[in-house]
């Protein structure tokens, strides 16, 4: 994996309401809960959004919405309103630093 972790950044999310929307580009967090209707939750899981997965905010469309998230080897675009329903574990936000050395994916 070409991504290494920094120490958790200064402002850990303290309120339990943090979601994927709160990630800035290049930040990663651990998904905790999908607060979405069942069939949407199923589709999101089929795309890799499981509770416990690492999700990286990879970018966004020009204008900031929808956002692009990198999860389980794929890039998935979600609107902000959907991303705000995918809650992340408190204090799990980290900032990624890109390095050039490729190594294996876990």
């Amino acid at each position: 994996m070409q991504l290494t972790f920094n120490k958790p950044t200064g402002t850990p999310a303290t309120d339990s309401g943090s979601s994927l929307v709160d990630l800035r580009c290049g930040q990663t967090a651990v998904l905790e809960l999908l607060e979405v209707p069942e069939d949407l939750g199923r589709r999101l899981m089929e795309l890799g959004f499981f509770p416990g997965s690492d999700v990286v905010a990879a970018g966004c469309a020009p204008g900031g919405d929808p956002r692009v998230y990198r999860v389980d080897g794929s890039e998935i675009a979600l609107r902000k309103e959907t991303a705000s329903l995918l809650k992340i574990q408190a204090g799990s936000i980290r900032t990624l630093v890109t390095t050039k050395s490729p190594s294996s994916h876990s």
Binding site: L40, M45, E46, L47, G52, C60, P62, H105
Partner: protein, 638 residues
Amino acid sequence: MSAGDSCHDLAADPSSAAKLDPAVRSTRHYVALVGPPNAGKTTLFNRLTGLRQKVANFPGVTVEYHVGKVRATSGREVFLIDLPGIYSLHPRSEDEEVTRDVLTGAKPDLGLPDAVVLILDATNLHRHLLLAAPILSLGLPTLVVLNMADDLAARGGSVDPAALAAQLGSPVALISAASGEGVDKVLQFLNGSSARPPATAKRVEFPILQDLPGCRRWAGQVGQQSGYNAPAPPLWTRRLDSLFLHPFIGPLTFLAVVVAVFQTIFSGAKPLMDGVETAIATSGNWIGAAIPDGVLRGFVIDGIWAGVGSVLIFLPQILLLFLFIGILEDSGYLARAALIADRTMALVGLQGKAFIPLLSAYACAVPAIMATRSIENKRDRLATILIAPFMTCSARLPIYLLVIAAFVPDQPLLGPLLGTQTAAMLGLYVLGFVAAIATAQLLRSTVLRRQQSVFVLELPPYRMPNIRSLFLRLYDRAVVFLKRAGTVILLVSACLWVLAHLPYENGQPAKLEQSYAGQIGHLVEPAIRPLGFNWKIGVGLITSLAAREVIIGTLGTIYGIENADKDSVSLQQALRQDLSPAAAASLLVFFAFAMQCFSTVAVVRRETGSWFWPSVQFIYMTVFAYLSAWGTYLFLNR
């Protein structure tokens, strides 16, 4: 009760459904090709079936898919069905439903497939293995194909197919559908020589399918035990995305791509068009020389040849347009375009995914309307179907090109990049798009009120478009176009020529204006006079109700008869004598908005399940076209 009397109507193409006829099921094997979206299914399908494929109807449903005969190495006839991409056997959209039904044998006329080819992306194996559990649990003979082997190796990943086969209890083939590497293993499977699982196979325990996190853990374990080494992330995709999704460069790139496409259609196709025109003129002369002077020669040359030929000239441009759309689609750029478009689409209550069928509607509304099946929300889907025919399809190209070439002087606007003719063309494309968006907004605030829909879109890595697939698509399109020129347009031209020469008076054919065709034209003239059209255009408008490009053939025939004695007067010159510039603009506007296409009406009828929506759509678009053309004419004639 009996399965035998279930009667389903066959679609327009009678040759299509025969392949899946239950009567021949016992002697033919059919194999379902399934996989998640973007696994390279269609590329493999094209590689295995080449030109031996056709569109078929699944019995009992109105859904069309490609069925292809596999290159056989044994005596057995094997047909491969290209099923829509799925993530699981829990469908969210109508085409996913079809895939599930075929795989579970829920289509009684079809029964279970004899075998399944499950294609997965080797560069994203863990997630794609999620689909392996439900598919393999079906218990059908299955070959697991790991595609993108070259990409996996290039990015430093690896996997042991034999170990994976042991884990899954099914044969596994590591291939690259794009380069053809390993495809012979798939052929072997299809021809029955390696349909059995490897001898070492143990009983495989599949996870409980309802427990998705459990399935994902299972997939992870299977991958690990198969020595799967995930590849490095696709760096090129990230580099390109930082460009194409850039806040400023992104939209600019999109605009530049669109302008380049249209400029090429105008200037790049010119030599090809000239070639086709020369070929038609030369062949017309040959045929003319072979036929004695008289009624028959007039019928063949001024009637049929002028009519069909004037449409054939546009084949190169239509193929170029399809080529560009194919490249955008296959390279992965279209998904980015959908992402960029999502915010704009959200303003009118649609979502970015609707952008993909709408963009392909620039080629043709019929496949676009079928592509709306991937939109999960039913109201979204209906709205997209209703607005798709406003997008400027390739059948409008001939009349646009003709009128623009006749009335817009070609001058550079932005140096060599953008000419006035290209700008006029772009304007018409924008006009169609604006009408579509306005209609979507109207639908949202009236009949199709709905909450915001969910947008979930996977962005596949960028890939080099496959030349074979592109070629097959163009070939398909050329066949459709030539078929239409050889049937509908030929028939209309022939009938028109006859109508333009009757009634006979004193052994002489009637003058064009007094002929039956002329009389029909005069009959509708009062209705179209406000738009600036005369009776000749009126005849063209009537014949083009079936298909837009027919107007070119009709005008070709009419002017062919009118100017039969002169040295060839080009359609452009003839049109300039008949239309004022304001009327030309009004004609363009009319064609931009009117729903002159039987195929589209038929496909909307099929996809919406009743005549209600196609009727509403037809009336709405016709009224809209008439009023807009009228307004344009009045405005320009102030």
